[in-house]
Amino acid sequence: MKEEGKRRLWMEYQKEVADDRFFYVRSCVRQNFFPASEKVFLQIMRSELGKDVFEKEAHTTCSGIGYHSDVVPFDTAMTIIARQFALMTESGYENFVTSCITSFGLYSEVIETWHHFPEVLARVRENLKTATGREFKIPANVSHASDVIYKFRQQIGEKGKHRLVNRYTGNPLKVVEHIGCHYSKMFPAKGIGGAEYPHVLIGMIEDWGGEVVDYPERRHCCGFGFRQYLVQANRGYSISCSRKKFDSMQPYKPDFILTNCPGCPMFLDRWQYAISEMEGITYGENGQGIPVLTYEELAGLVLGYDPWDLGFQVHQVPVEPLLDKIGVPYNPEKKFLGSTGQYIGKPDAPSVLKFYSNV
């Protein structure tokens, strides 16, 4: 592997990310999948970096999942997106930040369409005005929230309490990075590092002390792939995609997987459990699986936030082995206590995957 070649490519795919005054739009599904990630993003941006990040309760789905599943027509999607831009415009912002990769891809696709077909833009403006009375400006800057964390990764690293180093060996942790398909595969120039060797997560991992694993099935789908999962009959294909990735990364002995998409961490995390139940196979060390993190969770971990405030208790693959390697303090007794200290219940132990260290 020639690292110089990759670096040359990364230099060709640098994009403008705004510095401040962001209008933030949440994902439809992430608050269920990895409930603290968006909250942690806002906390880091506002409290750690002192940035102005605004969000509005009237924001709705971008309709991306419906659009990519062929149940929402493009014209409808464009009008919904025009309304989100109207909310941003009315709030006095022009830098748009999305939590979801599919939203980011769809926003990019819509803006690109309007750029090439001004008559479509005129039609969408008219439709929105007729339906809601609203008008909008196209954002000056559209970024994914991982772009923003990438931009401020050095500041986060400098403020951080932990490095991605194995405290027992002193070696950098080995990290698999997995990028959501809609981040840059449609528009390579809109992703940091392009489509083939994206740098957005690599930059965070390396800056925070870790080492990236480049394995043969790195670009392969996480297993979500929308219709692979949303159509029930296709779910065997979904889990086989994830398994192909685990089989490919396993020889490199990764310490964890880092993702920037709503679906990827969900499937890479949950399918490890499903594969263990179906085939008795576990990946990672000691039958405990390979932990899967979102970039917000990782940033929070680096900054020294309490692991249970980062939502690690809802991960299927236990994160404690990773916390132990880094040396992050945590209280196992508090894992299943809610934000007010009440007991929230805990899941049964899987039959194969070691979810509880004493099982």
Partner: protein, 342 residues
Amino acid sequence: MSEKVIIIGGGLAGMSAATALAQLGVSVTLLEKENQLGGHVKNWDRLFPTRRKSDEVLAYFSEHLGKNIDLHLRANIRSISRNGRFTVTLENEVEIKGDAVLIATGYELFDAFRKEEYGYDIYDQVITSAELEGMFRSGEKPLLDGQVPRRIGIVHCVGSRDEKVGNLYCSKVCCVTGVKQAIELREIFPETEIFNFYMDLRMFDRHFEEMYFEAQKEYGINFIRGRVSECAENQDNSIVVKVEDTLTGRPLKITVDLLVLLVGMVPRPETRRIADMLGLPMGDDKFLLPTDEHTKANQTPVEGVFLSGTVKGPGCIAGTVADGRAVAVEIKSFLDKKRTQD
């Protein structure tokens, strides 16, 4: 006869034209930006389809250039002007005057790095067809970690017929080069499996089709019809290739110890600069356009300026040599007519 022709480009097109003009008694100044003549051909080992040594062809033209040729090596052009005659000014401030200018600046190889999914200049075991020719010339064997490769893949149409990189045209020579190099690799490594991944095999010229059959029958080369979608590196530096076999309609994943990219031809940026100085038209493919591609294939709309070789688009060596001779006749005819008019 005192007229002089300035030939820009000392590759095979320029050498062929210079040889023919010398035979016709026309004085020639030959400008070459490198420190020796021969263009790309001097980097090739053996030529398709006969697999003769490329040096033999170059030696022929070097011998027949004649002693009266005014040769300038390391000649970089600063400007070209016309005031009755043409004046070409070099970066070293040497001024050369001539009555006609022949642009024979050829092509450059497609930068395989632009096909990011193939991993050229990122993965150690991905090389270009040009680099493989260099290895054939030097006798170096393309090994993997000192071992004979178990499998070798050869990817056709790298940078050609590819809308994604903006090159819709066929580079003509890559198909047959892929067949030639597959045979040569098989001769070096008789136990190695070789796979050529192609879209179409365009065996358009004499002996090409026979060579393709020979590759299959005598050498057991595997030809897979389908474009490579991506490559990745294994821990032992071997390359995982994903490709669709469009004849069986199935995706294929194969590990090779060496991947050779058949890089196509692209126009030289310097040619564009020279063309701008002279006001010459360019096609959508960015190669230069002659006045008429059928009947005036060496002429340009600018009187006294001629084109020859791959500056007009991809071509093979036999065609380039013939085109060099054709342009010599056109130039001689132009000079004769001009003298009569003067």
